[in-house]
C-alpha cells in the first residue's frame, strides 16, 4: 500500500498562530473563494486556500517554509469575500509573523518582539543607552548658548558608536535568518547564489514599481500608502548615509541649510513617509470589519515608523523655533525610535522587506508562475492567431 505524507498536527502551533493574529483561522471551510478572488495568486496551486488548511491542521513545516505566504501582499480581497469570516489575509499575516520568530537569531529577541509584555524593555534599552551617552558627553562638546546644535548635544561619534554595531548586528541576524529561510524553502539545501541574484534582479523592479499592490481591489489606496512609506523610508536612509559621509568624512557642521539638497530630500522623504503611514493606518481602521484590524506586529511597526518620522520632524521644527528643551527631547525620542527600528528589524515586521523580497526571488527562481495579465493573454492569443495565419 502506497503510503502518504504522515500528518502530525501541532495543536500548539495552531494556538500560536491564533495568538499572532490568525484567531479566525479555524473558521475556514475550504470553499476556495479566497484563491479565486485573489488578484495576485498563481494559477497553479493558488494561495491562500491551501495555507488555510495547513494552518488549521497545525502543519508548521508546510506552512512556514512556503514562499506563497510571502507572495501574498495582504490586499485582503480574500478576507472581504470570505463567506465564513475566516480572514485568510490575516491568517497569512500571522504565518509571516510566526516566521519572524521562527527564523530569528537570537531566538530570545524573536520571542520578545512577539510579546506585548516585553515592549517596555525593548524601549528601555535604547532609552538607557542614549541617556547614558548624553550624560557622558554633557558639557564637553561646547555648545554655544542660544544656538541649538544636535551634534553638540550628542556628538556624532557617540551616535556612530551605537548605530554602526547595531547595523552590523541587524545585518548578521538577517543573513542568518534568511539563510535558514532559503534552505527551508529549497528543501534543505541553499539554492545557488548566482541564480538567486539573477532572480532578485527580476523581482526588484516589480517591488519598486509596486506592481502587486496595484492589482489589489479591496484596499486600492494602500498602493499609495505603501509607496509613500517605502520611498520615504529609502529617501531617509539615503539622507542618513549622506549625512554620515558629510559629517564624519568631510567634517561639515550641522545644522544644514533648509535649501541644502540633502535637507530638501530629508524633508520631502519625511513627508512622504508620514503621508504613506496616514493612508495605511486610516485604511486599516476603515476596513477593520471586512479585512480585520491587523496584527500587533503591523501596528507596532507602523507606529514606530510614525514615531521616527514625527520625532524627526518635530525635532527640526523645535530647533527652527528655537525651543531648545523640546528640540533636544524630540531628538532623544527620535534616536530611541530609530534604534528600535533598526536593532529589532530582523524580528519585527520590518523584516518583511527582506523575507518577502527573498521569497519573491525564490519564487522567480523555481518558476512559480504568477497570474497572467488579461491584456497579456489577449496579446498572446492574438499573436497565436496571427502566427496561424
Amino acid at each position: 500500500m502506497a503510503k502518504g505524507y504522515v500528518v502530525e498536527p501541532d495543536v500548539g502551533f495552531v494556538r500560536e498562530l491564533q495568538e499572532l493574529g490568525g484567531d479566525t483561522l479555524k473558521k475556514c471551510y475550504q470553499c476556495a473563494t479566497c484563491s479565486v478572488v485573489c488578484p495576485i495568486s498563481p494559477e497553479n496551486k493558488p494561495f491562500p486556500r491551501k495555507e488555510m488548511i495547513w494552518a488549521q491542521w497545525g502543519l508548521k513545516d508546510k506552512l512556514i517554509c512556503n514562499p506563497d505566504i510571502w507572495l501574498c501582499h495582504n490586499c485582503n480581497d480574500c478576507s472581504a469575500y470570505c463567506p465564513r469570516g475566516a480572514k485568510p489575509g490575516e491568517v497569512l499575516a500571522a504565518a509571516r509573523n510566526y516566521s519572524f520568530q521562527y527564523y530569528a537569531w537570537p531566538k530570545f529577541l524573536g520571542k520578545a518582539l512577539a510579546n506585548k509584555k516585553s515592549l517596555p524593555w525593548l524601549f528601555a534599552v535604547p532609552a538607557a543607552i542614549f541617556l547614558f551617552l548624553i550624560f557622558l558627553g554633557y558639557g564637553k562638546t561646547g555648545a554655544e548658548p542660544g544656538k541649538i546644535v544636535f551634534s553638540k548635544f550628542l556628538p556624532v561619534l557617540y551616535i556612530d558608536a551605537v548605530f554602526i554595531p547595531t547595523a552590523l548586528f541587524a545585518i548578521i541576524a538577517f543573513a542568518l535568518g534568511l539563510k535558514r529561510f532559503l534552505t527551508d524553502m529549497n528543501g534543505g539545501t541553499m539554492p545557488p547564489v548566482g541564480a538567486m541574484v539573477k532572480s532578485l534582479k527580476n523581482v526588484l523592479p516589480v517591488i519598486l514599481r509596486h506592481d502587486k499592490f496595484k492589482e489589489c481591489t479591496e484596499n486600492k489606496n494602500r498602493y499609495w500608502g505603501h509607496l509613500g512609506i517605502l520611498y520615504g523610508f529609502l529617501g531617509l536612509l539615503i539622507v542618513t548615509g549622506l549625512v554620515f559621509v558629510m559629517m564624519d568624512v568631510f567634517h561639515m557642521e550641522d545644522p544644514f541649510s533648509l535649501i541644502n539638497p540633502v535637507k530638501i530630500l530629508a524633508n520631502l522623504s519625511a513627508l512622504a513617509l508620514i503621508g504613506g503611514l496616514v493612508v495605511v493606518l486610516y485604511n486599516r481602521w476603515k476596513t477593520r470589519e471586512t479585512s480585520g484590524l491587523g496584527t500587533y506586529y503591523d501596528w507596532l511597526f507602523l507606529l514606530v515608523l510614525l514615531g521616527v518620522a514625527l520625532t524627526g520632524i518635530f525635532a527640526e521644527l523645535m530647533r527652527l523655533a528655537g525651543i531648545g528643551a523640546l528640540a533636544y527631547l524630540c531628538y532623544y525620542l527620535h534616536l530611541i525610535c530609530v534604534f528600535f527600528l533598526f536593532a529589532y528589524a530582523p524580528f519585527s515586521k520590518f523584516a518583511h522587506l527582506a523575507y518577502r523580497t527573498t521569497a519573491m526571488a525564490y519564487a522567480d527562481y523555481i518558476g512559480r508562475e504568477l497570474p497572467v495579465e488579461e491584456s497579456e493573454v489577449e496579446e498572446k492569443s492574438s499573436e497565436e492567431e496571427s502566427s496561424k495565419e
Binding site: M1, A2, K3, G4, Y5, V6, V7, P9, V11, V14, R15, Q18, K26, K27, C28, Y29, Q30, K45, K50, I53, W54, Q56, W57, G58, L59, R84
Partner: protein, 712 residues
C-alpha cells in the same frame, strides 16, 4: 329523493356583460324544465344568498345549481344544509378566458349550464358512514419518537397504547452519552432528554405501556382496529383508532465494512463509540489505554451503491459530537474527520462552526484508501484530501460513521391483515423508509390511519424525531376525530361520501382490491371485495378501475360524469366547430385552468372541462361515450407520476396512464386515430402553459379532421 332544482345565474364579475343570460335561463327552464331559474348581480353577497335561502325554505328547492364562479372559491358561502349544491364554472373558465359576446363563448356557457344541471339531477346527498369507534391511539416503538408521540396524544386527552420490543423504553436515544443541541444557538451539547421523557410517559395515566412486546397482527380499519399484542409469551387485544409507527432504525451491518478495517482491534462504529463514551473514559478497546487520537471515517458504507446508497443525514453531526467527547476528555487530544461532504442540516451549521473552531478537530474531505489496525492503534491512509496530497495518520481509535437502516426494511412490523400485504407498500423511492411523499405529506403512509414518525420515516436526529412525533400524533388524533364523524382524512379531508358497491354485478376481477392505492378493500374467499369505509380516501380510483362500473359515490359516479359528457352539444361537422373534452384532476390541473382564467389568458372556446377527484378515477367508458358522440379529442390532465410523483392519491395518475393502453383498444375498435386522446402531466404552477397545451392539442385535432361519428 325527489329533487326540486333551482338554477341561479350570477351576473357579477363580468358574466352579465359577456353572455346572453336570457339564453342560459331558457336552457334551464326550456330544455331541462327546471322549475326555478333566477339571475342575480351579486349572488355570493348577503342578498343573493338570501334569495337562494328563501327558495329553499318557501319553494321547497332541495338542489341548487350555481352558475358563476369556480367551485374552488366561495364553497363556504354556497353551502346549504341538506341541499345538493352544484357549481357551473362560467367565470374563470368562460368569461375570464374567452372573448365577450362571442358565439363560441356563449355556446361554452350554455354547455356548462347543461352539464351542471344534468350532474345535479344525478347527484344524491351523501350521508356519513358512522360506526362506534375507538379513539385510542397505538404507538409502536418506545424510543424518543414513540414516547414523544405517546405523550403528545395522552396530554391531548387520548388513551394511548405504547408497544416497545425491548425490555426497557428509550431506544437509541437512551444509549447516547450526550445529545446534539436542540435549541438556539445550537452550539453546545446537551444532557440527553430521554430519561425525563421515560419518567413522564411512565407516570402518565393515559398511557398503557407494553415492554418486551411486539404487534402480532392488526385487523380492521381506522377507528376499528383490532390489535393483537404479544408480550412475554401471552397475547392481548386492544381496540385502536389510529396508529403511530415509530419503530426507528437499526445500524447498518458493520461486518460488511471489512475494507474500512471493521473487525480489527480498535476499529468501532459510531454506535459502539457512543456506548464507549457513555461508560466513562474513552479508552482503547484493545488495551484500555486512554485514547489520544481518533479518526472518524464518514459515510462508512453509505452513499455507496454496494452498501447504503443514501445519506443518513445525522452521521456528520454524530461524529462532530463524538469528537467533542474526546476533546472534552483531553485538551491535547486530536480528532480527525474524513468526510465526503460535511452535511449538517439547518441550524446545525452553528454546531459545525463551533466544532470547526476547536483547534483539536481536524477536518478534511477525502477518500479513505486503507485502514490498518492492530492492538497498538491504527493507520489510516486518505487520498484526494484538501491538504493537497495523500496523507497518513496514526491514531489510537478509528470510528466508522455507519448509517441508519429503517426498522421496516426487512420486517413488516405492523403485520396488517390487509389484502395488499402485512406492511406498508414499498414505493421503491425511499429505500425501505416508511415515507410517502416528503414534499407534500409528512407522516402520511399509504395505509389510512397509520402515521410514520421519526427515523422509520427518514433518517433524523433526536430533535427532529420529537418534532416529527408531535406531527404524527396530531395526524392520528385528526384521524380518529374525523373518522368518528364519518369524514375522510387527507387529502379529501371532511368528505362524507363513500363508495357504494353494487355487488350483484361484481365479477370478482379483483381490479379494485389490487389498484386501491390505500389498500382499503379486502377480499373474502370468493374474491368478493370487502370495502372498509374508514380506510377509504374517496379518490374513486376503484371507480375508474371497475370494468363493470358497479362502484359509485352518491355525489360522484360513472353515470354522473357520463351524463355530463352526453349533455355537451356537438355541432355537426359542417359548422367546423370541433369539441375537445378535458378531464382535469381537481387537485392541480383544474386549479391551473382556473388560474389561467384569473390571469385573463385566452384559450380555445371549443373545450369543455370536467373536474375529476383524481385522474385515476377515469373510467374508460367515458372516453368511449365521448368519442362515439362525436367529440373530436380528449385531453386528460393529471398530476406528475413516477419517482417524484405529485399525485395526491399516490398512484392515481400513474394508473390513469396505465389504462391508456385500454383506451387504445377503444380507439382501435372505433377505427379512430390514437392522437385523439392524450394524457398530460401538469402541476398547479403550470397555469401559464394551459393555453399552449389546449391550443396545440386543438391544432392537432383539426389536422386529423372531424370525428366521423358526429351526428350518429
Amino acid at each position: 329523493m325527489e329533487k326540486k332544482i333551482g338554477v341561479y345565474i350570477c351576473t357579477g364579475c363580468g358574466i352579465g356583460e359577456s353572455l346572453d343570460i336570457d339564453k342560459l335561463s331558457e336552457i334551464a327552464t326550456g330544455e331541462y324544465n327546471v322549475p326555478l331559474c333566477k339571475t342575480h348581480p351579486f349572488l355570493c353577497g348577503k342578498e343573493g344568498i338570501q334569495v337562494i335561502k328563501d327558495d329553499i325554505e318557501k319553494e321547497g328547492v332541495n338542489a341548487v345549481v350555481i352558475m358563476g364562479c369556480s367551485p374552488r372559491v366561495n364553497y363556504d358561502v354556497f353551502k346549504f344544509p341538506n341541499v345538493v349544491v352544484e357549481r357551473g364554472n362560467i367565470r374563470e373558465q368562460v368569461v375570464w378566458s374567452h372573448p365577450a359576446n362571442d358565439e363560441d363563448t356563449q355556446m361554452m356557457a350554455e354547455d356548462y349550464t347543461r352539464m351542471t344541471i344534468v350532474k345535479t339531477e344525478k347527484c344524491e346527498l351523501p350521508e356519513p358512514h358512522k360506526e362506534d369507534i375507538s379513539k385510542d391511539i397505538l404507538v409502536i416503538g418506545g424510543g424518543i419518537s414513540g414516547i414523544t408521540a405517546a405523550l403528545e396524544a395522552a396530554n391531548a386527552g387520548y388513551k394511548v397504547v405504547l408497544v416497545e420490543k425491548e425490555k426497557e423504553l428509550g431506544g437509541f436515544a437512551a444509549k447516547c452519552f450526550k445529545q446534539l443541541p436542540t435549541k438556539d444557538p445550537y452550539q453546545e451539547l446537551e444532557e440527553p432528554i430521554i430519561a425525563t421523557k421515560i419518567n413522564e410517559v411512565k407516570a402518565n395515566d393515559n398511557v398503557k405501556i407494553y415492554t418486551g412486546a411486539t404487534v402480532e397482527k392488526i385487523e380492521g380499519a381506522p377507528g376499528l382496529f383490532d390489535v393483537t399484542i404479544k408480550s412475554n409469551g401471552s397475547s392481548s387485544t386492544e381496540k385502536i383508532g389510529a396508529i403511530v409507527l415509530a419503530t426507528g432504525w437499526k445500524p447498518y451491518d458493520a461486518s460488511k465494512l471489512e475494507k474500512l478495517g471493521y473487525g480489527s482491534p480498535n476499529v468501532i462504529t459510531n454506535v459502539e463509540m457512543e456506548e464507549l463514551a457513555a461508560k466513562g473514559k474513552i479508552v482503547r478497546p484493545s488495551d484500555g489505554k486512554e485514547v489520544k487520537s481518533i479518526a472518524f471515517i464518514q459515510c462508512a458504507g453509505q452513499r455507496d451503491e454496494e452498501h447504503l446508497p443514501y445519506c443518513s443525514g445525522v452521521c456528520c453531526l454524530v461524529s462532530l459530537k463524538q469528537a467533542k467527547y474526546l476533546r472534552a476528555q483531553d485538551p491535547d487530544a486530536k480528532a480527525f474527520i474524513f468526510y465526503k461532504d460535511m452535511r449538517t442540516l439547518g441550524l446545525y451549521e452553528n454546531f459545525y462552526k463551533t466544532c470547526q473552531d476547536d483547534e483539536g478537530i481536524f477536518l478534511t474531505k477525502g477518500e479513505v484508501v486503507s485502514v490498518n489496525a492492530d492492538e497498538g492503534g491504527a493507520t489510516v491512509v486518505v487520498e484526494d484530501t484538501l491538504i493537497g496530497e495523500k496523507i497518513e495518520v496514526n491514531v489510537d481509535l478509528v470510528v466508522l460513521a455507519t448509517g441508519m437502516v429503517p426498522s421496516t426494511k426487512d420486517e413488516a412490523i405492523l403485520n396488517l391483515e390487509y389484502r395488499q400485504g402485512p406492511g406498508l407498500p414499498e414505493l421503491e423511492l425511499f429505500y425501505g423508509y416508511a415515507d410517502s411523499n416528503f414534499i407534500c405529506f409528512p407522516y402520511e403512509t399509504r395505509r389510512t390511519g397509520i402515521y410514520a414518525a421519526g427515523a422509520v420515516r427518514q433518517p433524523l436526529n433526536i430533535a427532529a424525531c420529537m418534532e416529527d412525533a408531535t406531527g404524527a400524533a396530531l395526524k392520528a388524533i385528526q384521524c380518529v376525530e374525523m373518522t368518528s364523524r364519518g369524514e375522510a382524512v387527507h387529502p379529501r379531508a371532511g368528505d362524507i361520501s363513500f363508495a357504494d358497491f353494487f355487488m350483484q354485478r361484481c365479477t370478482q376481477c379483483k381490479r379494485c382490491t389490487e389498484e386501491c392505492p390505500f389498500g382499503a378493500i379486502n377480499e373474502d374467499e370468493q374474491a368478493n371485495p370487502l370495502y372498509n369505509p374508514t380506510r377509504c380516501r374517496r379518490c374513486a380510483v376503484c371507480m375508474g378501475a371497475c370494468p363493470e362500473r358497479i362502484i359509485s359515490f352518491k355525489n360522484y359516479s360513472v353515470d354522473m360524469i357520463g351524463s355530463m359528457i352526453k349533455a355537451i352539444e356537438v355541432p355537426d361537422e359542417y359548422e367546423e366547430k370541433p369539441r375537445i373534452l378535458v378531464l382535469a384532476c381537481e387537485n392541480d390541473a383544474y386549479p391551473a385552468i382556473d388560474m389561467a382564467g384569473i390571469n385573463r389568458m385566452e384559450y380555445s372556446a371549443y373545450v369543455r372541462v370536467i373536474p375529476l377527484r383524481c385522474l385515476g378515477s377515469t373510467n374508460i367508458i367515458w372516453i368511449a361515450d365521448a368519442l362515439s358522440k362525436g367529440i373530436d379529442g380528449i385531453l386528460l390532465l393529471g398530476c406528475k407520476y413516477g419517482d417524484d410523483y405529485q399525485c395526491h392519491f399516490i398512484k392515481g395518475s400513474e394508473l390513469a396512464n396505465y389504462r391508456m393502453e385500454k383506451v387504445q383498444e377503444t380507439l382501435d375498435r372505433l377505427v379512430l386515430e390514437s392522437e385523439r386522446v392524450r394524457l398530460l402531466e401538469i402541476a398547479i404552477t403550470d397555469y401559464d402553459k394551459i393555453p399552449g397545451i389546449i391550443n396545440e392539442f386543438l391544432e392537432k385535432i383539426e389536422e386529423l379532421g372531424p370525428n366521423p361519428y358526429k351526428g350518429f
